[in-house]
């Protein structure tokens, strides 16, 4: 029960991750718990933002894989974080690939053909504001931005995890941030317009995306002007 006592005593400062990784490599179960506490929210957030539906289970799978093979790991906390998110990235790719495989059974005439499986999952998983930002990104931009920000990985580590070049990652990250900014600002503008009109409902999260249910509202003229001329 010492873990619980320690958990109450103090949070998990990141600078101790080095010691925990070293202890975990030695088989210390307490260190596993501390690592889980310190990194599992970010890993879970990354998976959710990627559109992984059962993100809790996949997060556990990621940590199980990491703990099972931690004996082979050699490096510091930053390297361990990169290693862990690389595992998470591969898990997410596997899960999303499976979803796409299942989606092949959907008739081609389905109006949702333009939307990706990740977008479908995002509608159910991610909060509206974050979803608005992520949906404005391409899957590649989303992947890089999440690894860079949520995973706290460097450009080089992101490049290594995704199998891209450093230059490509830099470009993707730059464009992702710009697109996310535009999405957030447009969402704020739409909220302001909606507030001015007294509309209680929030503006649609997806800008310019086709309405899957066919129940989309025609964009308001002022919103349109705001989006065109922010």
């Amino acid at each position: 029960m010492g873990w619980t006592a320690r958990a109450r005593r103090d949070a998990a400062p990141s600078h101790d991750l080095d010691a925990w990784v070293a202890s975990a490599r030695a088989g210390d179960a307490d260190a596993f718990g501390w690592i889980w506490q310190a990194l599992s929210p970010r890993v879970n957030g990354y998976l959710r933002a990627r559109g992984v539906a059962s993100s809790d289970d996949v997060t556990s799978d990621v940590f199980l894989a990491a703990f099972a093979s931690i004996g082979t790991f050699d490096g510091d906390a930053a390297a361990f974080r990169s290693w862990l998110f690389t595992i998470a990235h591969h898990k997410a790719v596997d899960v999303l690939r499976r979803r796409v495989d299942v989606a092949e059974y959907v008739p081609e005439s389905d109006p949702r053909a333009s939307a990706s499986a990740e977008d479908d999952a995002l509608d159910e998983i991610v909060d509206a504001d974050v979803r608005a930002m992520l949906e404005a990104l391409t899957p590649e931009q989303r992947e890089v931005l999440l690894l860079r920000t949520v995973g706290d990985l460097s450009i080089e580590q992101v490049a290594e995890a995704t199998g891209r070049t450093v230059g490509a990652v830099k470009q993707l990250h730059h464009r992702a941030v710009a697109a996310a900014r535009r999405a957030a600002e447009s969402r704020t503008a739409e909220a302001v317009v909606a507030a001015d009109r007294g509309a209680p409902d929030r503006p649609p999260a997806r800008r310019g995306a086709p309405d899957r249910a066919g129940q989309g509202r025609p964009p308001d003229a002022r919103v349109k002007a705001t989006l065109e001329h922010p």
């Binding site: 179960a29 596993f32 970010r42 933002a49 991610v126 860079r148």
Partner: protein
Amino acid sequence: MSRMTPHGVETMLRNWADAQVPVPSPALAQFMGPLVPLPALAISGAQLGGAAVQAGITTKVIIGVAAIAVTGAAVAGVNHLRNSSTGEPRPPQSTAPVVPGAADPSDQPAVGSPTTSAPAASESAKPEVTESEAPQSESPEPTRSSAPREQTTTSPTGDGDRPSTETHRPSPTGTSDDDGDHHGDDDGDHTDATPSTSQTVDASPAPTSEQTTSPDPQPTPSSTGRGKGKGKGPSKGHDDGHDEDDED
């Protein structure tokens, strides 16, 4: 239009991700043994504090809660001092002002100690409101009406405070108040009290009493009025009377 910086985008994503605390699967829990954290413990205090501070809510909330706590503690302390300042903490006293009308008839004789009168007056501030209304409402009146009558009788005597005080005692906590007021009025405020009202009509001789009657409940300092008579008693009576008049 608000502009979001790249840092704002990253901060927003990080804060959102920090809140996505997962529940470990049974396999992982077994792997970690009994050390698996509870979901509630999976968020560290630093993470919560950092996220809340970045959200800009915690500071205000903390300040607000702290202000409320300090204010409440101060009020509780003042009330405690009020209750304790009387000397011997008496449960009937504390309860008496709270229930002005009901407690009067039964408890009156026991309460009438002189020491209590002063604190009762201080505490009477809250009952004042009820008392101001009291002249209209009849519940407080009966005790008071009896008191003023006797007072009126005493008032003509002027110096005859003793009998008046004795008669006042039976009037309860309110009596203590009554005593103080009456004495004060009798001594100093006769002129002020002169405009008699309906209640005073009963105590016809005591036009003075009438204001005193309306202030009856408040002015507890009967004891002071009694013993010292007119010097100090009136002063307190004046204060109480003025307060009442003001409130009325």
